[in-house]
């Protein structure tokens, strides 16, 4: 009896794999192979992209990029984006979602409003943002002018190389703009996800709590947030991935030299930006393999953050 059953199960399994085969092949060709290839390439010394020649396996590429000051900036900027923009946008999105969920009228209207950044082009919106921060006729300075604050040269890099003080002031201003834009850009999707999660919570929990005289704050803390936790984790992980891939917003705000006009240190470069530049330089021996090494570092960082997150929140996430 049991044997027969097992045999039948095996037959089922075999046909299941057969049906899955096309998908598995596509996955292998377009996902598995590139990942493995990148991994291998990152260890090839003096790898020439056009001929495929290389001078043995080793850690040369990793050593090279870690010695490169631009790579250091790329790491720092990427981590900045992750550690500032993820918490900021998540807290903002969650707050807005809780408020939106509490109102009945105009909910759809506000949701559309908050969804707009999601359907605008990252580059185009970035240009508009950069323009808003324009020193001469940008909206931000105009508004600051109304309250009596002198115009700020927001995106300006001329003559900063000589003085560390001027350099870091320019850097701080650019970071600020980058943060504001990144949060603005990423908030819509998070709101949509949070709203979905909130509306999935059974209304009877709230009725029960209301009859028991639970305060709004306690309802949020003891009922809403715990029941929303799977959504929060999902939002967090997708945010981490998006943050570590930050690239387009930097290009659109600061141009392809990753900095304010006049800066030639690639002040605002990100990890993906660093990879892009290295890949663009594919004729130089070892360039593609350095890009691969940077990519592996990126993967490592994302994995690290995700694992830490899982460990920290394991007990507090409630899955149904």
């Amino acid at each position: 009896m049991l044997k027969k059953k097992a045999a039948r199960q095996a037959r089922y399994d075999r046909s299941a794999y057969l049906y899955l085969l096309p998908a598995l092949v596509l996955l292998a060709v377009f996902l598995l192979y590139p990942i493995l290839n990148t991994f291998l390439t990152s260890f090839k010394n003096e790898y020439r992209f056009l001929t495929g020649e290389f001078a043995g396996f080793g850690l040369q590429n990793y050593a090279d990029i870690f010695k490169d000051a631009t790579f250091g900036r790329a790491i720092i900027n990427t981590l900045f984006i992750a550690f500032v923009c993820i918490p900021a946008s998540m807290v903002a999105a969650l707050t807005i979602s809780l408020l939106l969920n509490a109102i009945e009228r105009w909910q759809g209207f506000y949701m559309t409003l908050f969804y707009l950044p999601q359907v605008t082009n990252v580059i185009a919106a970035g240009l508009v943002f950069a323009f808003m921060f324009n020193s001469n006729f940008g909206l931000v300075n105009t508004v600051l002018g109304w309250v009596g604050i002198d115009p700020v040269a927001w995106i300006k890099g001329e003559g900063i190389a000589a003085s560390p003080k001027l350099y870091y002031e320019a850097y701080a201003r650019c970071l600020f703009i980058l943060f504001v834009y990144t949060v603005w850009q990423g908030i819509s999707l998070k709101i949509i996800l949070f709203m979905g999660g909130l509306q999935n919570i059974n209304k009877q929990y709230y009725l029960a709590a209301k009859v028991d005289g639970t305060s709004s704050w306690r309802i949020i803390r003891k009922i809403t947030l715990p029941l929303l936790s799977p959504t929060t984790v999902y939002v967090f992980i997708t945010s981490v991935i998006t943050a570590f891939k930050a690239y387009a917003q930097v290009i659109s705000l600061f141009g392809s030299h990753y900095g304010p006009p006049g800066d030639d240190s690639k002040m605002m470069i990100t990890l993906v930006g660093y990879m892009m530049d290295a890949m663009g330089d594919y004729l130089t021996p070892g360039s593609i393999s350095k890009a691969s090494a940077a990519a592996m570092i990126l993967v490592l960082l994302v994995m690290l953050v995700t694992i830490v997150q899982f460990k920290l929140t394991k007990k507090r996430v409630h899955y149904n």
Binding site: N202, Q204, Y205, L207, A208, A209, K210, V211, D212, G213, T214, S215, R218, K222, I223, P226, L227, H318, N320
Partner: protein, 376 residues
């Protein structure tokens, strides 16, 4: 505490300015300390009525009194009601202990009341936390869940979840307990067991309890009184047996009782009742000539062995035996079917002609509008 609804109406605003009246001019009094069933088919306004008592829904018109106190405008958390929702609404991320304790650790108001009770304890207890612990344990003990306090709701059976919900509702010592279809999510065997459990808990605590159900059997078996609604309108209120034996109208007669009551077309002519076309018996009161529906319950129809005048003839068309009783279907002279219960060892055979009989006071006569016009 006594609950009184006075001309209570609830209208919901529908889409496009339409209005739906869920409950209409409801006048009922729920006696203090009683277990009262709110009974009616799905959509008749039972939950709406319950939610108005709880203060979850506002009342559109009319008043609700708890004792002498008009609570119509009182927010739900000030009414001191405990409610069990149809799907329990247990917090899935909290343990049984935390679920039961939830209402106690809530608002300032509750804490104040608890602190006061704590202060008046005799003998006094050492600390407030221990008092909370004791209240939770007492509630858990009442519903026999002491062994499960550390579990999450998902790790409990449906019946146990149900009892957690009851414990959570009574732990704050409510003056009124409201149960919305508490048994509808349980399987048949558990349902009988749990309803007896609810009866026991209610008797033990003496809390005035409103028990919503669409299952007449449930209501009749455990309630001290039933209130029957149809389309938001009160049909009848009274003790179960009373309502069963003296239904106010055809709807109540049909709704109560399983199997459903026999309804046979007939008429009144010259103060005589005709069952189909056959004269049955003379009416003790004078009523105008009209077509009527005649209702007789299965168990009230018996074979006539004494040649009574008030018997009628019928032909046995089928016999379905189930355990100790069998259901006999017969056909009247004009072809209308009727059913009755007999012992399974009865000698009736299909095709037999039988004389049947029902005592006049078990016969309900309804007019074309479904109003009861006579029960002798």
């Amino acid at each position: 505490m006594q609950v009184r609804l006075e001309q209570v109406t609830k209208t919901f605003a529908g889409s496009k300015n339409t209005q739906a009246t869920a409950v209409k001019e409801l006048d009922v009094t729920i006696a203090s300390g009683k277990l009262v069933g709110l009974l009616g088919p799905s959509g008749c306004g039972k939950s709406t009525t319950l939610f108005m008592i709880a203060g979850i829904h506002d009342v559109s018109e009319g008043h609700i009194y708890f004792g002498d106190h008009d609570v119509t405008a009182l927010p739900s958390d000030k009414r001191g009601v405990g409610i069990v929702f149809q799907n329990y609404a247990l917090y899935p991320h909290l343990t049984v202990w935390d679920n039961i304790a939830f209402p106690l650790l809530n608002a300032k108001e509750m804490k104040k009341r608890l602190k006061q009770r704590f202060a008046e304890l005799s003998p006094p207890m050492a600390n407030f936390k221990a008092y909370i612990q004791r209240l939770v344990e007492e509630a858990a003990k009442l519903v026999e869940l002491t062994a499960y306090l550390d579990r999450k709701p998902a790790e409990l059976s449906g019946g146990q979840q149900q009892r957690v919900a009851i414990a959570r509702a009574i732990v704050k010592n409510p003056s009124i307990l409201l149960l919305d279809e508490p048994l509808s999510n349980l399987d048949a065997r558990l349902r009988v067991q749990t309803r007896d459990e609810i009866k026991r808990i209610q008797k033990q605590t003496g809390i005035t309890t409103v028990f919503v159900t669409h299952d007449q059997d449930e209501a009749l078996s455990i309630c001290d009184e039933v209130i029957i609604l149809k389309d938001g309108v009160l049909q009848q209120q009274g003790p179960p047996q009373e309502v069963y034996d003296h239904p106010a109208n055809q709807f109540v007669a049909e709704f109560l009782g399983s199997p459903q009551i026999n309804l046979v077309g007939g008429s009144i002519k010259a103060n005589k009742l005709y069952l189909g076309n056959e004269e049955w018996f003379a009416l003790p009161e004078s009523l105008s000539d009209q077509p009527v529906n005649i209702g007789v319950r299965y168990e009230n129809i018996r074979p006539d062995r004494e040649n009574r005048k008030q018997a009628f003839e019928a032909t046995v068309t089928s016999i379905a035996r189930t355990g100790g009783t069998s259901t006999v279907q017969v056909r009247l002279a004009d072809g209308q079917p009727m059913r009755l219960h007999r012992d399974s060892d009865d000698v009736l055979q299909e095709g037999d002609r039988v004389r049947l009989y029902a005592r006049p006071r078990t016969v309900y006569i309804f007019n074309a509008e479904g109003e009861k016009i006579l029960q002798c």
